[in-house]
Each structure stands twice: as structure tokens, then as C-alpha cells.
């Protein structure tokens, strides 16, 4: 529009020299006045002093090779302790000669997370990635997996059901027949199994020795708790948030009640309830694995927080978006999945990742109920009397590992915001 208006032959002027280039920047931002100049010098000196002290301790006078804690004393940081204990810190009480298993489990989970971070994978591929990745992870960790027939039937039922609800509009007749077949086989099979007409078959996949969850420890435990905690809490939180905005008073009441109840209690009390009180209410003879109970507690807790974050996104959408979707004749699931959620989730990426980071760190609270997550194994490494007296090194190391994960999430949040808003930026 503007070039339509004649402005004559005036050439655009170059900006003043002192505001461009490195020198210009330094002058403008660091030394624009006497006060500013002095602040800059003092701060740089302070940073250099702290950094040199830290490097002296952590590198130049550090001991990397000592065989016992006694040899370490007197110098700088005792990294020999980490060298000695890192396998315990990373993998806990997992049988020592089998440590390759949790190592590959961690690598599998990281690969799974990195792949899911790519937007191009956000379709059916995501299910494949998580299915295969989870199978490998748990096969490595447990060593043996028994898949009961009822689980297979249940998965068939769920897959068919999801296919029918989500793809009913687009599926070809043959595809739709396949979904009906899955639902039919799943439903009939489950009923037969329940009345006892089908035996309790299970497929045993047992290439390795069995390792129970009480021996798991270190990084894989933290990663499993956080990854599956958030992977389940996310869709669950979405459902809670949608339920909270429902017009049906019963659904709304239940969701509000659940969210407020969970938000009103500390995670630690929820974990203790799950580990100590829940078994008292179960009929004698039935036991639920402690690890699984902690995992469920984390999911329930994270779900309530995620729900509130997502509700913020839902409320930020203008009413017109809902009306336009209604006026076109979209039904509730279509409106929610195609119009509302894609926009609402985009808005809440920063607070959502913030919640995720918080929960990644909060998983360390499971040490209260005696589960050996990464921070807890680091803690246990200090107990060895041979190496007593170097808590700083161990916690610094643990903090460093946590930082890598949390910082990656934070960067990913930034990338995602940029990616998803590409088209909508003016």
C-alpha cells in the first residue's frame, strides 16, 4: 500500500554509525554512562572471580584418580568418587553384570522422546514409536514379559474403537470393516474370557533373566516415572480440562472435585497413601507393584495440574471459534479435536512445558517411599564409609544430569512455539 504513495526520490538514510557493529553495541549497552560503565566492570570482575574459584576447585586441583576417599582429602573436587560410583548412581541395584540392559533401556527411551519431538511424527507413527519403544524398554528392564490374552483382546477393542470414532469420516469401507472386526473380536473375546470360556493364555517373551522392580534404580527409574507419568497425564489432563468445561453438571462436578482434591494435597502425601494405605484396602492376596502404585500417583497428580494449564488455553479462545465450528455442523469430537485443542494447546506450550519440567524434578520425591530414582541412588552413593564427606560433588553431578534434561525441555518448548506459530505469524 505504502509504495503507491509517491515519496519523491529520497533515499533511505543509513543508521547512525555508533549504534551498529560490535563496538556500537558495547558502547550503547554496556558503557552508555559512568554508572553503567562501573556496573559493567564490577559485574565482569565478580563473574571472573567466581568462575576462576570454581574452575580451580572443579578442574585444576580436582582429584580424578584416587582409589579411596582418604586420598582425595585436602585437594579440590573429588571426581574420583563419581568415577567409582557412577554405575551405581545411574543404574542402582540392578544386577551389576546386567547393567547394559538399563543402559539400552535409557537409550531407547531417549530415542523415543527425540523422535516424538519431531512434528512430522505426530500421526499414527507416534503410536508405533511409543509401542515399539515401550516394549523394548520394559523387555530390557524386566527381562521377561508375559502378555495375557485379555490384554491383547483389550488392545484390539481399544484400537478398533479409536479407529471407528476418529476415522469414521475418512475410512474406506474395507478399513471400516477392519475396525468393526477388531471391536467384535475384542468384545466377544473379553466376555468369553470373563465367563471362563477362554483359558488364561499368555504369550511369554523371556529372552533375559527376570529383574523385579524393587531392584530397579537410577536414571531409568527417573525416566520411566517422568516419561510415562507425563505421557498418560497429558491426555488425561486434556479430558479433565474438557470435563471441567462440560455442560453436564455431573461430569463437571466430578472433574472439578478431582482437580481440587488432588491440587489440595502434597505429592508426598499422595505417594505415601499409594504405598502404605492402598494395600490395606485391597483384598488380602492381591498386591500391586509398589513402582506401579507410585507411577499411578504421579499420573493422577500431574493430570490435575496439566488440566488446569489446558483449561487456561481453552478459555483464551474467542467464543467465535466455537460458534463457527458449530455453525458448520461439526459435532463435539470433531470440533474439539480439529478446532479447539490445536489452538488451545498452542497457547499453553510455555506453561505446559513448565509443568513438565516441574514434574520431571518432582519424581525425585519417590525416595520417600523407598524407590531408588536417580537422586536417591546419588544419595545412597554417599553412604559408603570409604567415600564419606563429599556430598557436594555427588549433588553437583546429579544436578548437572537433571539440568541437561530440563534445559533440553526448555529449548524444545522454544522450538515448538516457533514451529507451530510459523504460519500464523504475520
Amino acid at each position: 500500500m505504502t509504495d503507491a504513495m509517491p515519496v519523491g526520490d529520497r533515499k533511505p538514510l543509513a543508521p547512525p554509525v555508533d549504534e551498529t557493529g560490535a563496538l556500537g553495541w558495547v558502547r550503547k549497552n554496556l558503557f552508555s554512562s559512568w554508572g553503567n560503565g562501573i556496573t559493567t566492570v564490577v559485574l565482569i570482575a565478580a563473574v571472573l572471580w567466581v568462575a576462576s574459584w570454581f574452575l580451580e576447585w572443579a578442574l585444576f586441583t580436582a582429584n580424578f584418580t584416587a582409589a579411596t576417599g582418604a586420598e582425595c582429602r585436602g585437594g579440590g573436587a573429588c571426581w574420583a568418587l563419581i568415577r567409582e560410583k557412577f554405575r551405581y548412581i545411574f543404574f542402582g541395584s540392578f544386577p551389576y553384570e546386567q547393567h547394559w540392559r538399563p543402559l539400552f533401556a535409557v537409550i531407547t527411551m531417549l530415542a523415543m522422546l527425540v523422535l516424538s519431538a519431531d512434528r512430522r511424527m505426530w500421526n499414527w507413527r507416534l503410536l508405533v514409536i511409543w509401542g515399539v519403544g515401550s516394549f523394548i524398554t520394559f523387555l530390557l528392564m524386566f527381562g521377561q514379559i508375559h502378555i495375557p490374552l485379555s490384554l491383547i483382546l483389550f488392545v484390539a477393542l481399544v484400537c478398533g474403537g479409536i479407529g471407528l470414532t476418529l476415522r469414521s469420516a475418512l475410512a474406506a469401507p474395507s478399513e471400516r470393516m477392519a475396525y468393526y472386526a477388531l471391536v467384535g473380536i475384542g468384545a466377544v473375546g473379553l466376555v468369553l474370557r470373563m465367563v471362563g470360556a477362554l483359558p488364561a493364555w499368555s504369550i511369554a517373551i523371556a529372552p533375559l533373566s527376570y529383574v523385579e522392580t524393587s531392584l530397579w534404580g537410577g536414571l531409568p527409574v527417573t525416566l520411566i516415572l517422568a516419561t510415562y507419568g507425563l505421557a498418560f497425564a497429558f491426555p488425561y489432563g486434556i479430558l479433565l480440562a474438557l470435563g471441567r468445561r462440560s455442560n453436564l453438571p455431573l461430569i463437571k462436578g466430578l472433574c472439578v472435585g478431582f482437580i481440587e482434591l488432588i491440587r489440595g494435597v502434597p505429592l508426598i502425601s499422595l505417594l505415601i497413601m499409594a504405598s502404605v494405605m492402598l494395600p490395606l484396602f485391597l483384598p488380602s492376596g492381591t498386591t500391586i507393584d509398589k513402582f506401579l502404585r507410585a507411577q499411578v500417583a504421579v499420573i493422577l497428580f500431574a493430570g490435575a495440574y496439566i488440566a488446569e494449564v489446558i483449561r487456561g488455553g481453552l478459555q483464551s479462545l474467542p467464543k467465535g471459534q466455537f460458534e463457527a465450528a458449530d455453525a458448520m455442523g461439526l459435532n463435539y469430537p470433531q470440533k474439539t479435536l480439529l478446532i479447539i485443542l490445536p489452538q488451545a494447546l498452542r497457547v499453553v506450550i510455555p506453561p505446559l512445558i513448565n509443568t513438565f519440567i516441574g514434574f520431571f524434578k518432582d519424581t525425585s520425591l519417590v525416595l520417600i517411599i523407598g524407590i531408588f530414582d536417580f537422586l536417591n541412588t546419588a544419595n545412597q552413593a554417599l553412604v559408603d564409609p570409604n567415600w564419606a564427606g563429599f556430598p557436594g560433588e555427588v549433588y553437583l553431578f546429579a544436578a548437572f544430569v537433571y539440568f541437561i534434561f530440563c534445559f533440553s525441555m526448555s529449548r524444545y518448548s522454544k522450538y515448538l512455539e516457533f514451529e507451530l506459530n510459523k504460519g500464523t505469524r504475520r
Binding site: 469420516a169 475418512l170 474467542p318 467465535g320 471459534q321 460458534e323 463457527a324 465450528a325 458449530d326 455453525a327 458448520m328 455442523g329 461439526l330 459435532n331 470433531q334 480439529l338 478446532i339 490445536p342 489452538q343 498452542r346 504460519g423 500464523t424 505469524r425 504475520r426
Partner: protein
Amino acid sequence: MAATARDLSKVESVIQLKGVNKWYGQFHVLSDINLDVKEGEKIVICGPSGSGKSTLIRCINRLEEHQRGDIVVHGVTLSNDVKNIEAIRREVGMVFQSFNLFPHLTILDNLTLAPIWVKKMPKKEAEEIAMSLLTRVRIPEQALKYPGQLSGGQQQRVAIARALCMRPKIMLFDEPTSALDPEMVKEVLDVMIELAREGMTMICVTHEMGFARAVADRVIFMDRGEIVEQNEPEAFFANPRNERTKLFLGQILHNH
């Protein structure tokens, strides 16, 4: 007079409102509305703000729920039955004052969404229809852009094309030009006039009296939730009978 001059009394009614009443709390927003819209008829509704004109057309596709009376659209009586409501919404297109395009979808995806998901149309066919409609509203080159990259006038033309994609029998316009910068009003009105000349049944809430003169079969004046006066455009503007109509026309025509 309307471009399609014909005897409307012999044509079938597509929308019938009988004794429609609606309240917002204690506020009586629609009082005893009776309206009969024939197939192919173009109706312009005007009136001061808060007179219930937007509420009236939003009741026709159930964006608002009326509390008493009957609304029959294409032989289907509006009720709380979701199937019923969805059936009516498939036949009735709507254009909003604030466009309400979906900002996370391209223009093309905005247009093809409802045909694909509601009418189960194959994607390719939906895209062909969408492109032909974008050509009709004269912005085919914007198909792969996002709504935020378009001007207001362009966005509103996309919104009209999006509604037409469902091949509706009736189009509702809720102040389609009120949110536009003055220089963009004409491009939107031109598209609407074209649509009217092609014989679409239209109900349009607007204060664009030029548009009313050009295409309307009937102009309806609403005030305080009632239909105060209705007439053919020539007679309506030249010879308003009710005092409130005269006052209103005096105000808006004076400003133009």
C-alpha cells in the same frame, strides 16, 4: 426491486418462525416473532443495536436457543435433538461479523474442513470445490496462506466461501461488513450481491442500505425485540409508516 422478480407467494417457505420468544434472564430479547422466508428470498434485517436482530438469525441455526414458539427450517423443526440441529446446520451457512476463520488452518483447509468431516466428501473433490469458490470470491492465489496474513475484506470473503463450500440452501449474514475498514466494505458487498443474483436464500443483518436497495425482496425493521415494520425496499425507505422506523432511518441515512 429485487433482481429476481417473481411471484413469491407461489414459492415454498424454507424458514418459518411462529411466535418465537426468547429471554436473557429477565430481558425479553425476542418477543413474538413471526417470519416466513420463501425459497430464493433475500431479507435484510436492520434496527438499533440491542434490538434482537442478531439473536433472531442466530436462533435459526441454534447458536442461540429460543424458549417459546417454533422454528422450522426446510421442514425440520428445531428441537434439542442434536441430530436435528446438525441436519439444519448442514443446510444453513453463516457468516459472522468477526469472520471467525480458524487461524491455525490455511485458507484451503478452512474451506475443506466441513465438507470433508461433515459431508464425508473425498479430499480431492472438496479441494476442487474450494478452489472454484475462492476463484468466485476473487482470491484463489491466497489458498495456501493463513487467515492472519489476509486483510479484513479478504478474510470475510474467505468466510463467505467457507460457508458456501457446504452447498447450503440458506445463508445467514450477521453484520458481515461492520468490522471492516471502509475501503473493504465494497469488495465484500459485491460478493454478496453476486450471490443474491444467483438466487441464494439470504437473511442479512446489516445497515448497508445500498445493499438492501440493490438485492432485498423485503426489509425488516426490528426494535426492542419486535418486528416493527417490513416492506419492499423502495416503499420501506421512501415511505416508512412507524415512528420508530422513521427515527432510525433518519439517523442512519443522515450519516451516510
